[in-house]
Amino acid sequence: MRTIIHIALSILLVSSCYRFDPTEAHYTDGPIWPDYMDVTIPVNIAPLNFCYTAADGPVPETTFSHGDMSVTIKGREVVWKAKEWKKLLEAAKGSDIIVKSSVLQDSWTMHVSEDEIDYGITYRLIAPGYEVFSKIGIYERKLSDYDERTLLENTQFNSCINCHTPHKGDPDKYSFHIRGRHGGTLINLDGELGVYNTRTPETIGSCGYTHWHPSGDYIAYSSNIVRQGFHVRPDKLIEVFDLDSDCQTYDIRNNTLISAESIKKKDVWETYPAFSADGRTMYFCAATPRTIATEFEQIRYNLCSVDFDPATGTIGSKVDTVVFAEGMGKSATFPRPSYDGRFLVYNIADYGNFPLYHKEADLWILDLETGESRPMSKANSDGTESHHSWSSNSRWMMFSSRRDDGLYSRPYFTHIDENGQESKAFMLPQKHPLHYYSYQNRSHNVPEFVTGPVDMDGISAEKLVTSKEKIQFGFRMSD
C-alpha cells in the first residue's frame, strides 16, 4: 500500500512541477527567444521574460541597466521580479535600457516608449484547423502582468465563437458572433447584452467581419459566403475564399442594416469594411469574382472607399480606389485606420482575401495625408502577419504573426510613431514564454486591444446564446 501511495505521489509531483527545459522548442537561430533585442516597449508592459536558446555552455548572467540602476539575472531563463521590472521601466521611460549578457559578445537595448499601451487585449484561442472546431474561447489578457481571464468558452453551448470586436477598445461595447447550432451575434451596448439574428432576406448571409463607427452608433459588417479549399502541395495547406460577399452598416439606434448599390454590387465581391477615424468614410476591399477551382490565384482585392454620412446613415454611390493592389499583382485586405486619422494599416498577400494562410502576407501602412503606402518592414517577418489592431492612442499596433512555427498565430506589438515609423515587433510576454508557447496548442486569433476589464457575464451570455429568441435585424437600402 505504501508503495502504491509513493508511486501515486511521485506521479503527482512529477506532473506538477515546472522545470525550464531549453530543448522544448527550436523556434529561432537567434541567441534568445522570444527575440526582445532592440525592441521598443511601453512603460506599462509586463516583464519581458526570455530564455537563451543554447542548452549548454556556461550559465548566462544578464544585466539590465539604465543610468545608475542595474539588475542582474542569472540563468538560462531570464525571469523578472515584477516590482524590479516596473521600477526599471519607470526610470528608463523615454530612453534605453542597455542589456549585457555574460555569454554574448554584443549588448542590446530595449527602448522604453513614453506612449503607454492599453490595459489589455482580448483574443480567441482556437486550434488552427479547418472546418471542425474543438474547444474555443474568448479570453482577456492584461498587458501589465500575465493574468488571463476567460470571457466565454464554447464548453457552455458547443458552438463556434468568433470576431470579438470592441468599439475603440471599449470593454463595455463590443460585438461577436456565434456560429453553428446556436448561431447569432451578441452585441454589448454599455452593459446591455443582446443577441441578434443578423441574416435578413435581403442579405446574402449572416454578418461577418466587423468594425465599429467612431461614434459607436453604427457597426460596419460584411456578409460572406465562405468556403475552404485544400491545397495538395507541401508548402500550402488551406485556401479560404468567398463565393460571394457584400458590405453593409448596422444602424444600432434603429436596429437596421443599411446597404447601398456601391457596396453590394453583383459583379464585385466586397468585404472587410472599416470606418475612418472621422466616421465619414467607409473603407472596404473589393475584387472581381473569378472561378475558384481554376482561377483562385488570380483573385485580388483592392482597397476602396465610399462616403458615409453618420447623421443620416447614407452610404455614398461613388467608389474610390485607395490602393490598387491588383496593379502590383497583390491582394489588399483587412484595412484598419488609426483612431487619430493619420494612417491605415492593411494586409498585402499574393492573392485571395484570407491572409492568415498566406505565408507571404505582410502589413503595409498607408499615410492618409500623403497617400503613400509602404510595407512595415521592421514589424514584418518571413511568416504570416495578419489581424492587426490599433491601441486607443494610435501609437501601438498589435497583430498576429505565425513567424515562430509557421502555424500558430501569436500576438506581436510594434510601436508606431507620429511619422508612421514602426519599431521592431515584440511578442506578447509570458512568465515562462518558451514553455507557454511550446505547449499552447491553440492560436491567439483576432487579437484586439481593450482599455479596461471586459464586461462579460458568461452565464447571461450562455442563456442568450441558447435562447431561441433573437432580435431580428431590419434592412434598408441607403437613400
Binding site: 515546472y18 474543438s134 458547443n158 485544400f230 495538395v232 507541401p234 483562385f296 500558430y408 496548442n441
Partner: protein, 591 residues
C-alpha cells in the same frame, strides 16, 4: 457470514471479474482501443492543471491515466474488470454492518449497471472512477464512530469530492446517511444531516455554476462521464443510484435462504440488458480501423474473408489492405463493394470516420488531405480532448511537409506519454537532423510518392483527375494507379476506365482490369475480333459463360455464387443507386 458463505461470495466476485475481463479482452478489445485513441494523457503540469480545474477533473485525470494503458487491449480489459470488481467490493463493504449473505448478490447491482455503461463506446470510465472514489470515501466516513463528527466531516467533504469527482460523488453522503440512520436513535439527527447535506450540495453546484464555464445540467450530471455533452450518462447514474438502493435493500433482507433469489434479481435483468448495451457491429468497425492504423493488412484480409463486412468504413479498410498487399486490382470484387464510398469516402464531420480515411490518403501520398482528415478527426472529439493517435499522425504529416516546428510541437507533447514516447524521441532525432528523414523507409516512400510539383485544390468531384496526377508525378505510386482505376470501376464508368488504362500505359493486367476491358468491349462491339490482347483466354471463357448464364435468367443468388468475385457481377447486380448516392453526396460536399 459463515466461512462457506464467504467462500461462495469470493468465488462469485472472482468469477465476475474474470468474466468481465474475458468479455473485454476477447469480445470487445477494439472498443478498448477506441477509447485510447480519443484521449491524450500526458505527464505534465499543464495537462494536470487543465484537467483538475473542471468539476470532476481529478476523476477525469485518473481516468486518463488508466485509459492510456488501453493501448494494449488486455491491459484495458484488466483495468475495466478491476474497476468493476472494486465497485462490487466497495458496495458490499458499504452495506449496513451485519447484512446477511443473501444480500451479497445485491452488491453486484451497481457493478452490473456500470458494465452495461462500458458497453457504449462514448461512455467514459471517469464515471466508474468517480463511483469507486465515492464508495471508498463513504466507507471511510461510516467508520467514524462519533455520529456528529461523522456528519460534519461528510457534509464538509461534499464540495471537495464534487470538485474531484463530479456529480456522482453526491452518493457518498446518501450512503453515509443510510448507514447512520440504521444505527442512530431518533429521527432528528437524520433530518438535520439530510438538510445540511442537501444544502451543501446545492451551494456546491451553484458555486460551480458561477466558476466553471459549463451548463448546469452538465455540472450536475458530470462534465466528463460521456463524450457528448448533450447525452445523459444513464447507466452510470443508474449504477450510482443502485448503490444506496442495494444498501437499503441489504438492511431489509434478513433470510439467508433468499441468496438464490437475490442472485437472480441481479443476473436476470443484467443478462436481459446486455444485448442492447453492447454493439458488436461497431466492435467490428473499430477493429478494421485499428488494424488499418497499425498496418495489419493481412489480418484485415483474413477478418474480411471471414465476416464479409458491408459498411463503407470497413470496405474502405479492406480496399486499402488489398492495395497495400498488391491485390486490389485482382481481388477487390471478391469482397463486398459499396461504390466509391467504400474506396475514398467523402468527409464526414465526426471523430471516427476521418481517421481511417486519412490513413488511406496518407498511403496514397496525399499528405495534405490526410493531414486535414487527421486534424478534423482530432478536433471533432466531442469532449474537446486531443488524441495521441492523431497527434502522432499529424507529427508525421508535418514532418513530411517540412513544417518541422509544428511537428516538434506534437512530438514534444507525445514525449510526455508512456506509449508514444519512444516514437517521439526517435522522431525528435529526425527533426534535429532532417537529413536522416529520407533514411526512414516509410518517410522515404511517402516523400517519393507525394505530389511535389503540381498544386490544385482538393475536390472529391475530381478524384480521378487527382489520382491521375498523383500517379503521373511518380509512376512508382502503384496504389494511386490502382485507386484511380478502382474509382472508375466502382462508378461503372468503363469509358473512363479504358481511357485511364490506356493513357497511363499500365502494364499490370490484373484480373479485374481484364474483366472490365472485356465487358467494355462486349458493350461496344459485336464480335471479339480486335479485343485487347491483355485479356486472357481464361477470363474470356469465363465471361462467355457469365453472359450465357446472365441471358438465361439465372437468379442473383446463383450468379453470386459463381461470379460474385468478378467485376461483371458488381456491374450487373450492384444497384446503380449506390453510385448515384455517392455522386450526390460528393456534389453536396463540394458545393
Amino acid at each position: 457470514m459463515t466461512r462457506r458463505q464467504t467462500t461462495i461470495s469470493a468465488i462469485l466476485s472472482a468469477t465476475f471479474v474474470l468474466l468481465t475481463f474475458a468479455f473485454f479482452n476477447f469480445l470487445y478489445p477494439y472498443h478498448i482501443h477506441y477509447q485510447e485513441q480519443l484521449q491524450f494523457f500526458r505527464f505534465s503540469t499543464d495537462y494536470f492543471l487543465e484537467s483538475v480545474v473542471v468539476p470532476g477533473g481529478l476523476g477525469d485525470w485518473i481516468s486518463g491515466f488508466l485509459v492510456q494503458f488501453f493501448y494494449y487491449a488486455p491491459l484495458g480489459a484488466l483495468i475495466l474488470s478491476i474497476l468493476l470488481g472494486l465497485i462490487q467490493f466497495l458496495t458490499w463493504k458499504n452495506m449496513v454492518k451485519g447484512s446477511y449473505a443473501a444480500s451479497y448478490p445485491l452488491s453486484f447491482l451497481p457493478a452490473a449497471a456500470m458494465f452495461l455503461f462500458f458497453g457504449g463506446e462514448e461512455n467514459l470510465i471517469t464515471a466508474a472512477v468517480a463511483l469507486v472514489a465515492s464508495l471508498a470515501a463513504a466507507l471511510c466516513l461510516i467508520k467514524i464512530r462519533k455520529d456528529r463528527l461523522g456528519d460534519i466531516i461528510t457534509v464538509a467533504l461534499i464540495p471537495v469530492l464534487y470538485v474531484m469527482f463530479g456529480g456522482i460523488s453526491f452518493i457518498t453522503p446518501v450512503i453515509v446517511g443510510i448507514n447512520s440512520a440504521a444505527r442512530r436513535k431518533g429521527i432528528k439527527g437524520n433530518i438535520i444531516f439530510a438538510g445540511a447535506a442537501l444544502m451543501m450540495a446545492a451551494v456546491t453546484v451553484i458555486i460551480a455554476r458561477l466558476c466553471a464555464p459549463y451548463p448546469l445540467d452538465r455540472l450536475i450530471l458530470g462534465v466528463h462521464y460521456h463524450r457528448f455533452s448533450y447525452v445523459i450518462p444513464l447507466f452510470a447514474w443508474i449504477s450510482a443510484i443502485l448503490v444506496p438502493i442495494a444498501v437499503l435493500a441489504a438492511g431489509v433482507i434478513r433470510k439467508d435462504k433468499a441468496f438464490a433469489l437475490t442472485l437472480a434479481t441481479v443476473i436476470i435483468p443484467a443478462a436481459c440488458l446486455i444485448p442492447s448495451s453492447i454493439d458488436l457491429d461497431k466492435e467490428e468497425l473499430f477493429g478494421y480501423d485499428f488494424m488499418t492504423r497499425m498496418g495489419q493488412w493481412n489480418k484485415i484480409l483474413y477478418a474480411a474473408d471471414r465476416n464479409k463486412p458491408e459498411s463503407p468504413i470497413a470496405v474502405e479498410c479492406i480496399n486499402l489492405a488489398l492495395a497495400k498487399t498488391g491485390h486490389l486490382a485482382s481481388d477487390m470484387f471478391a469482397f463486398y463493394q459499396n461504390g466509391t464510398s467504400g474506396l475514398l469516402p467523402k468527409y464526414v464531420r465526426d471523430h471516427f470516420t476521418p481517421g481511417p480515411t486519412g490513413t488511406v490518403y496518407y498511403n496514397l501520398g496525399m499528405i495534405n488531405t490526410a493531414q486535414t482528415f487527421f486534424f478534423e478527426a482530432q478536433e471533432g472529439i466531442p469532449d474537446f480532448q486531443k488524441s495521441a493517435r492523431f497527434s502522432q499522425a499529424l507529427a508525421k504529416t508535418n514532418l513530411l511537409n517540412g513544417n518541422h516546428a509544428v511537428a516538434r510541437k506534437y512530438v514534444n507533447a507525445l514525449k510526455q506519454t508512456v506509449f508514444y514516447r519512444k516514437w517521439a524521441e526517435q522522431t525528435e532525432r529526425l527533426l534535429d537532423n532532417p537529413a536522416l528523414i529520407a533514411a526512414v523507409p516509410e518517410y522515404a516512400h511517402m516523400l517519393s510518392v507525394r505530389i511535389r510539383s503540381r498544386d490544385f485544390l482538393f475536390s472529391q468531384d475530381e478524384m480521378d483527375s487527382m489520382l491521375g496526377l498523383l500517379y503521373l508525378d511518380n509512376t512508382t505510386n502503384t496504389i494511386a494507379m490502382n485507386y484511380l482505376l478502382a474509382w472508375c470501376l466502382l462508378r461503372k464508368d468503363l469509358q473512363r476506365f479504358m481511357e485511364c488504362h490506356q493513357l497511363l500505359q499500365i502494364g499490370d493486367d490484373a484480373r479485374h482490369y481484364q474483366e472490365a476491358a472485356i465487358l467494355y468491349w462486349s458493350l461496344n462491339h459485336d464480335s471479339p475480333e480486335g479485343m485487347p490482347g491483355f485479356i486472357s483466354r481464361q477470363v474470356e471463357s469465363r465471361f462467355t459463360k457469365f453472359i450465357s448464364d446472365f441471358r438465361s435468367g439465372k437468379n442473383e443468388e446463383i450468379m453470386q455464387k459463381e461470379y460474385g468475385d468478378t467485376y461483371w457481377f458488381y456491374y450487373c447486380y450492384r444497384s446503380n443507386t449506390i453510385i448515384e448516392e455517392n455522386d450526390e453526396n460528393n456534389n453536396s460536399h463540394s458545393s
